[in-house]
């Protein structure tokens, strides 16, 4: 259940009233986005086998930050800072004995989105560890 539990823990961040109040449209991977806005984020959970056991795993939460092309990187950085407030150093537990703990974040170089060159895409990455209890 560790993969599902990590997903629940991470999704719970974006289900909070506080996050919704940030007014940053948020979508997961494998969702066909219906979004007339040109500012949104897309989250992808990438578990890795490193440090993985039957009840624990590590991985990365990768977040694509989309903002309008041609307006410089400032808004991307502002969204990354907002994400940091919700994620960096946080421990999440939506039920059961396992805890998902986020570590430090990083922000990659930005580029125009290949699918829509009216969008500028920057990749925000944050590592996490999940530790369950048998």
């Amino acid at each position: 259940m560790k993969y599902d539990k990590v997903s629940d823990d991470i999704f719970s961040v974006f289900a909070t009233a506080e996050w919704v109040a940030e007014s940053i449209p948020t979508y997961p991977q494998n969702h066909i986005t219906v979004n007339p806005s040109n500012e949104f984020i897309r989250i992808s959970i990438v578990p890795s086998s490193f440090l993985s056991t039957l009840d624990s795993l590590s991985g990365q939460l990768i977040i694509d930050i989309f903002t309008p092309a041609g307006n410089g990187p400032k808004r991307s950085f502002a969204i990354a800072d907002i994400l940091d407030q919700y994620l960096v150093g946080k421990s999440l537990n939506t039920g059961g004995n396992g805890v998902t703990q986020f570590l430090a974040s990083s922000l990659g170089a930005g580029d125009l989105d290949r699918d829509n060159t009216n969008l500028y895409r920057v990749i925000y990455t944050i590592s996490f560890n999940y530790t369950g209890v048998q």
Partner: protein, 117 residues
């Protein structure tokens, strides 16, 4: 009469004239407006069912990695409106998923419908 309405009428006429070369299909149009992170599922609106005709431009079986059937379907735009990959189409009682690309020239909409076998 402008050219837009002229072409729209001619497309309707063409679909009527080809008779049973156009297949009766049922298009189920689903509206997905977002994603609910609390439940982990899409936020869906009401489903609209459209009974219409589609021209099957191409049909093939792909057995390279697994058995899959692909049909290229062409709809009248005025019958179906906007189509998304969340929509499905039922042909002869079998449900097909609509994939990408969805080609829409304003008069006809061409899609790839797939079904696992």
């Amino acid at each position: 009469m402008g050219y837009q309405s002229l072409v729209t009428k001619q497309v309707s006429l063409a679909y009527a004239q080809i008779q049973d070369l156009a297949t009766d299909v049922v298009l189920s149009k689903k509206t997905v407006t977002g994603f609910n992170f609390g439940t982990g599922s899409n936020i869906e609106g009401s489903e609209v069912v459209v009974t219409t005709k589609a021209v099957v431009n191409d049909s093939k079986k792909d057995t390279e990695l697994r058995n899959k059937q692909v049909k290229e379907l062409m709809f009248k735009k005025e019958d179906v409106g906007d189509i998304s990959s969340y929509d499905t189409v039922t042909i002869s009682g079998q449900e097909w998923s609509i994939g990408t690309p969805i080609v829409d020239d304003g008069f006809v909409v061409t899609v790839k419908a797939t079904r696992e076998l």
